[in-house]
């Protein structure tokens, strides 16, 4: 029926050890084959499962060890070819797999779309039609709410501004076409177009790199554990890593002892930075950690600031709070199993609005509260909508990446000396894609722009 191949993560996010990326459609096998190092999907029997690696074909980088389930149409849920990629590495790697199949040509499924296809292809009983419609409606409404709510005002403002630049450029190209004799309108040139397209492309790249949510999805939340020596940083790290099956990676191109560990806390992917540093300095007590902590602070999105409840609040502690000012901080008052010397009111005062959690890492107390505080910081307390937030983010990123690649096409076209009215097709496309992010995509507005920007007519 509908040819394009859709994909989504079909397991709840952040729950369970395995996450599944599902693909459905004519291209499902082809796309899977392009990212999969293992058996040729076309060759294997239907309804079988295969071990292999998902590899980024651009960088040749190993993304994830997976089990791939192959189901050939028509005996599938949607009656289309279906691939299910079973991942186990937590949110970051599942997301990378998803991003990869999107890049290879799959489209992110609309809310309820697998079910819709199942119905349209005759897989689901007629009596369930109403239920299918309700499901689509409900999922759409919820997704829209979440998308609107979590859309950062600055981001949408920036995208509006970029779209305005694009549409002014397009209108300029258009006016030259539809009113070729209006000599008082400057002729758009390849040079100007290159400049505009390059500028917008750079901005889009910047959004992709810096957008907080986007960064979370691609890289995890850079998390620094800071604190004076011997307050329990190492225990915290071990606890988080142990409970959440950390993946330890060496960061290429940096000093050997900088190590990152990925952990998945209730669906929030944390990238713990400079974990080697923590271990090292905890071992050598004299090498006081404040300076080192400052360094870690620079790169972090989230600060876990550990205090010793068994000691009084010190100047160094205050200095650390100061250094972390303006960032997302969660303060841990550790060692509640020992005698409490710290003045909690003072801690709360210094912490400002940041959450303060009391823990005994040794006795494994307060871990739940800590994890909840982390989740709350990034999903604003609505854990059940984490799935949706996540999905709308994936959508945004896909759209931004497509916009970027449309701009690339435009720039290539210019390089190939293609006429401006063809180059314009790709520029308009990028304008439309950015519009989809902010839910604004009316073709008519180009014509509005044309007539408000230029004085035309007989």
């Amino acid at each position: 029926m509908e040819q394009d191949t859709i994909t989504a993560i079909s397991t709840p996010i952040g729950e369970g050890a395995i996450a599944i990326v599902r693909l459905s459609g004519d291209e499902a096998f082809a796309i899977a084959n392009r990212v999969f190092q293992g058996k040729d999907i076309y060759e294997v029997d239907s309804h079988t499962i295969h071990y292999g690696n998902v590899v980024d074909s651009k960088t040749n980088e190993l993304v994830e060890e997976v089990m791939m389930t192959v189901m050939r149409a028509p005996k599938t849920f949607t009656r289309e070819d279906i691939i299910e990629i079973n991942c186990h590495g937590g949110m970051v790697s599942v997301n990378r797999v998803l991003q990869l199949v999107l890049r290879e040509g799959a489209r992110l499924a609309e809310p309820g779309e697998f079910t819709k296809r199942a119905f349209l292809n005759g897989r689901i009983d007629l009596s369930q039609a109403e239920a299918v419609m309700d499901l689509i409606r409900a999922k759409t409404d919820k997704a829209m709410n979440v998308a609107l709510k979590q859309m950062d005002g600055r981001l949408s403002g920036l995208i509006r501004q970029l779209r305005q630049e694009l549409i002014e450029t397009v209108a300029h190209v258009e006016v030259n076409i539809d009113y070729p004799e209006y000599d008082d309108v400057e002729e758009m040139t390849h040079e100007v177009l290159v400049e505009k397209a390059t500028h917008v492309k750079k901005e889009v790249q910047k959004i992709l790199q810096t957008a907080k949510q986007g960064k979370i999805l691609r890289e995890g939340i850079a998390t620094a554990i800071i604190g004076r020596p011997n307050v329990g940083k190492s225990s915290l790290l071990n606890k988080l890593a142990h409970e959440n099956k950390a993946i330890v990676t060496e960061v290429p191109g940096t000093t050997r002892d900088v190590i990152e560990e990925y952990v998945n806390v209730r669906g929030v992917p944390l990238r713990l930075i400079d974990t080697a540093g923590i271990r090292e300095t905890e071992d050598i007590v004299e090498k006081i950690g404040v300076d080192r902590s400052r360094q870690a602070l620079k790169d972090a999105d989230l600060i876990l600031l550990v205090l010793n409840g068994n000691e009084e609040f010190t100047k160094e502690d205050a200095a650390l709070f100061e250094a972390a000012e303006g960032m997302d901080v969660i303060a841990l008052v550790n060692k509640t199993d020992l005698d409490q010397q710290i003045d909690m009111n003072q801690v709360k005062h210094v912490a400002g609005g940041s959450p303060v959690v009391t823990t005994s890492l040794l006795q494994e107390e307060g871990i739940d509260e800590l994890e909840e505080a982390i989740a709350n910081t990034f999903f604003e307390g609505e854990l059940e909508s984490a799935d949706l937030t996540y999905v709308s983010n994936v959508r945004h990123i896909q759209l931004l990446e497509q916009a970027e690649s449309a701009l690339d096409d435009a720039l290539n076209g210019i390089e190939m000396d293609m006429p401006l009215d063809l180059v314009q097709i790709d520029i308009t496309r990028s304008w439309e894609l950015l519009g989809e992010i902010i839910g604004d995509n009316v073709h008519e507005s180009l014509i509005d722009q044309l007539f408000s920007q230029f004085c035309l007519g007989k």
């Binding site: 689509i136 759409t140 000599d183 014509i447 044309l450």
Partner: protein, 628 residues
């Protein structure tokens, strides 16, 4: 009242829409009657004496490919022809001709008079006969009753037309012809939504009183050109146009007298088009612009009247004269006719099916300016579709619906019936999302086949088209299979053109894709056994050179078509569908889209509404199947 005859199709009006409608219906084999107010003003151009331009020129070629007349007539009667946008890509090139208005009319009249199956009569239609929701015929002012199962109304700006010059206003069609009031009233009684639009025209001046030394000449192209694919004789004796500008004093006079402009006097008025603003509009909206272009366009070979393009206005006559005095070259110009604005009734076009038949009255079609468009070409494009479809209805043949990837005419009609319009609608290339496919050079390739199936294209022409198509296909195939080796000829040529040399053999088609290479170069390197016509070579070059872009467009078209092929059942009840958003439901009920694709183009109908609609339709299909 007397019975004046029985027809298959009656066309009310003989303007640019009426002419194409009447001719197409007659060619399709319908016994057709064309009624007009004044036999001397058939295909009259009440505004600018020109045909074509970006998008519009492509429409003329589309009309021609569908066997229509506009292109052929302008080819015979123009005083100047130019190909526009030659420095840009093939998708946006377009022809524009300056017309000899009088000759154009005479020629059109002759063609109509000589068309088999077509009867031409003078008469004002006062009333439509409508019984049980279906049209049965028309009654003229002189009480002649004509009967037909289909009627095409192409009354242009005549419905309750009102001319405005300063504070003077009077009931009138364009150029002081009589306006029609009764028809408009009857359409309202029948339940049609009517909107009030306006447009305008500039003054005309006597050529003898223009000082051309103060203006710049705008000549036609030296290469002879034609709209019609059938034209073989070209006009070489061309007449130039002239360019001048408004200035500071022009703007000052307008500023001072704005209150006396009919459109700025504060009275509630119809909506005018943004793309065709009056000079008052331009000064108000772009106050900082120091000057505006004014093109002086002769209205014909045997007249001294010159159209002052750019000076459309509804200012009082005395002010118009003073404006002219401020324009270089026109200081002493004698104003033969004053400019004016005209207000008129238009039918809200979302009340039409894509065949241009009205939803409210079976067998009643409307085409042209009455549907809220502006421009001769837009009118002609609708006319030919309405004519073909009215004949189809009468003779029980297949209707014609062009989609957005097939023709600008398809874009226009889809826009009108799906989105409606809140100002007089003009085609622009930017309205077409697949404009790379909708080129002026391939209109015949796109539409001859369709026209042939609709019986409006002759056998001979169809054969010529098939030959051309085959030649193109063969040559493209040849270029794709022929490997050019890096021999001396090639390397020398590439060196000469400033390109990098070949390392290995390449397909001729890949070489042609290089920016510096033209088809002529390829021809030189690997000559074809037979000499190809120029238009075939042009197609081959475009098809190969822009293949990447064309393919991308085609992919989008495939997607669109898939949705367009999903029909919505005729008697669908949108109130029955749970889960569709309220706004979408209201819009769907109003537009009554024929396909899911059309539904998805309605503003306010979201993807989730479309999903739900799809599920609902599937549910209906399956429960029907299980009942049988």
């Amino acid at each position: 009242m007397y019975n004046a005859g029985q027809y298959d199709v009656i066309v009310v009006g003989a303007g640019h829409a009426g002419v194409e409608a009447g001719l197409a219906a007659a060619k399709r084999g319908a016994k057709t009657l064309m009624l007009t107010l004044n036999l001397d003003l058939i295909a009259f151009m009440p505004c600018n004496p020109s045909i074509g331009g970006p998008a519009k020129g492509v429409v003329v070629r589309e009309i021609d490919a569908l066997g229509g007349q506009m292109g052929k007539t302008i080819d015979k009667t123009h005083i100047q022809m130019r190909l526009l946008n030659t420095s840009k890509g093939p998708a946006v090139r377009a022809l524009r001709a300056q017309a000899d208005k009088v000759l154009y009319q005479q020629e059109m009249k002759k063609v109509i008079e000589n068309q088999e199956n077509l009867t031409l009569r003078q008469g004002m239609v006062d009333q439509l006969f409508v019984e049980d929701g279906a049209v049965k015929g028309v009654l003229t002012e002189t009480k002649a009753a004509y009967y037909a199962p289909t009627v095409i109304v192409t009354t242009g700006t005549f419905m309750r037309g009102k001319v405005l010059i300063g504070d003077i206003e009077y009931e009138s069609g364009p150029n002081n012809q009589r306006s029609t009031v009764k028809l408009s009233e009857q359409l309202e009684e029948l339940g049609f939504d009517i909107v009030r639009f306006k447009t305008g025209t500039p003054p005309r001046v006597n050529s003898h009183t223009i000082d051309y030394t103060k203006t710049e000449q705008q000549p036609g192209d030296e290469v002879p050109r034609a709209f019609s694919y059938e034209t073989t004789e070209f006009i070489t004796d061309q007449i130039p146009c002239w360019l001048t500008y408004t200035g500071e004093f022009t703007h000052q006079i307008i500023d001072e007298n704005l209150g006396r402009s009919a459109m700025y006097s504060g009275a509630e008025r119809g909506t005018g088009p943004r793309y065709c603003p009056s000079i008052e509009d331009k000064i108000v909206r772009f106050h900082d612009k120091p000057r505006h272009q004014i093109f002086l366009e002769p209205e014909g070979r045997d007249t001294e009247e010159v159209y002052v393009q750019g000076l459309s206005t509804s200012l009082p006559e005395d002010i118009q004269k003073r404006l002219l005095e401020t324009i270089p070259g026109l200081e002493k110009a004698d104003m033969m006719r004053a400019g004016y604005a005209i207000e008129y009734d238009a039918v809200v076009p979302t009340q039409l099916w894509p065949t241009l038949e009205t939803k409210k009255v079976d067998g009643l079609f409307t085409a042209g300016q009455i549907n809220g468009t502006s421009g001769y070409e837009e009118a002609g494009g609708q006319g030919i579709v309405a004519g073909i479809n009215a004949a189809a209805k009468s003779l029980d043949k297949e209707p014609l619906i062009l989609d957005r990837s097939e023709a600008y005419i398809g874009v226009m009609i889809d826009d009108l019936v799906t989105k409606g319009t809140n100002e007089p609608y003009r085609l622009l290339t930017s309205r077409a999302e697949y404009r790379l496919l909708l080129r002026h050079d391939n209109a015949d390739l796109r539409l001859t086949d369709i026209g042939y199936k609709m019986d409006v294209v002759t056998e001979e022409r169809y054969e010529r088209f098939t030959r051309k198509k085959n030649l193109i296909d063969q040559e493209v195939k040849r270029l794709k299979s022929h490997i050019i080796k890096p021999n001396e000829d090639v390397q020398n040529l590439l060196h000469e053109l400033g390109g990098s040399p070949l390392k290995d053999g390449v397909r001729a088609s890949d070489l042609l894709r290089r920016p510096e290479i033209k088809y002529d170069h390829i021809k030189q390197l690997i000559p074809n056994d037979e000499t190809l016509p120029e238009d075939v070579e042009e197609q081959v070059e475009i098809i190969v050179k822009y293949e990447g872009y064309i393919e991308k467009s085609m992919q989008q078209v495939d997607k669109m078509r898939k949705m367009d092929n999903k029909r919505i059942p005729e008697h669908i009840n949108y109130d029955d569908i749970q889960g569709i958003a309220t706004e979408a439901r209201e819009k769907l009920k109003k537009v009554q889209p024929l396909s899911v694709g059309q539904a998805s183009r309605i503003s306010g109908v979201n993807p989730s509404d479309i999903s739900i609609l799809l599920v609902y339709i599937e549910q209906g299909v399956r429960s029907q199947a299980s009942n049988e």
